[in-house]
């Protein structure tokens, strides 16, 4: 299994935007990979999940709903966009990714391709 973070390929002409890297938990079981990402303040409409070849990219815009005349006093979170990419290994089925967002936590399930699941091989009696 080979799941690593991918270098973002910037689209030509697009400005480089500073983004927050969301914390993730990643686990693998027999069925596939599950990724949970912390995306506070991101609503479904502001979340983009893209698969480009074998790269999965999660992007989200944070909305605080703050009053327009609010002046900052103290900020531990200074950016309002999240982005993180992952390279998916070939045994994963990128067409059947399931994504759910609840209370700012994105849960992605990427199942393994059927042929990549562990299988027992029957031995023919000779």
């Amino acid at each position: 299994m080979n799941m690593q973070r991918q270098t973002n390929n910037r689209e030509a002409g697009a400005p480089e935007m500073r983004t927050l890297t969301p914390a993730v938990d990643i686990l693998e079981d027999e069925g596939g990979i599950t990724v949970k990402a912390d995306l506070p303040g991101v609503a479904r409409n502001d979340l983009t999940i893209r698969v480009d070849g074998d790269t999965l990219t999660v992007e989200g815009a944070m909305s605080l709903g703050e009053a327009p005349n609010l002046g900052a006093v103290y900020a531990e979170v200074r950016l309002a966009h999240f982005r993180r990419s992952f390279v998916l290994s070939r045994d994963l089925d990128t067409e059947r990714i399931d994504a759910a967002l609840k209370d700012g936590v994105l849960t992605l399930s990427v199942p393994k391709l059927e042929k990549a699941k562990p299988r027992r091989v029957a031995v023919r009696p000779e």
Partner: protein, 152 residues
């Protein structure tokens, strides 16, 4: 708390992880800070802002059972305490854990409110993982224009 470098792709993520680990090893560093300031990487991260009407505190706490979070104000201190359970299983022969970056466990953050904040009218809302706490300012402390009369 979060990476905010312009390094391409997730090199920023790598550095952020390294930074977090270094912070945990070496603590806060030599410079003095607020007596209640917590270590970098505290959960949940907090932003605070003011307007003429109120003080607003945002706690970035996704995936928290909000029923179990305790928000209280005492003597000008706002405390946000609770617990997050990420339900991350242990490594076994059925499950491999490749990343466990999300905070798991009990948390407690304390911020001091300015004197003109009115603790009896605090409102808190939890949406999309952000806990937004609004503390209106006391009426008497709001800016008031004083008209100057010309005396002859």
């Amino acid at each position: 708390m979060y990476a905010s470098l312009t390094l391409p792709g997730d090199l920023a993520g790598e550095f952020e992880l390294l930074q977090r680990q270094m912070d945990q090893l070496f603590g806060h560093g030599a410079s003095p800070s607020s007596i209640r300031a917590s270590q970098r990487g505290a959960f949940p991260p907090i932003n605070m802002g003011t307007s003429p009407e109120a003080v607003e505190i945002y706690a970035f706490a996704p995936g928290v059972d909000i029923e179990k979070v305790d928000v209280s104000v005492e003597k000008g201190l706002l405390t946000i305490a609770g617990e997050r359970n990420t339900a991350l299983p242990e490594d076994s022969d059925k499950v491999s854990v490749f990343a466990a970056e999300r905070f798991d466990g009990a948390f407690r953050r304390v911020v001091s409110l300015p004197d003109d904040a009115d603790p009896t009218r605090v409102e808190a809302r939890y949406r999309d993982g952000i806990l937004r706490i609004v503390v209106p300012k006391r009426e008497s402390s709001k800016p008031r224009r004083i008209e100057v009369k010309q005396s002859r």
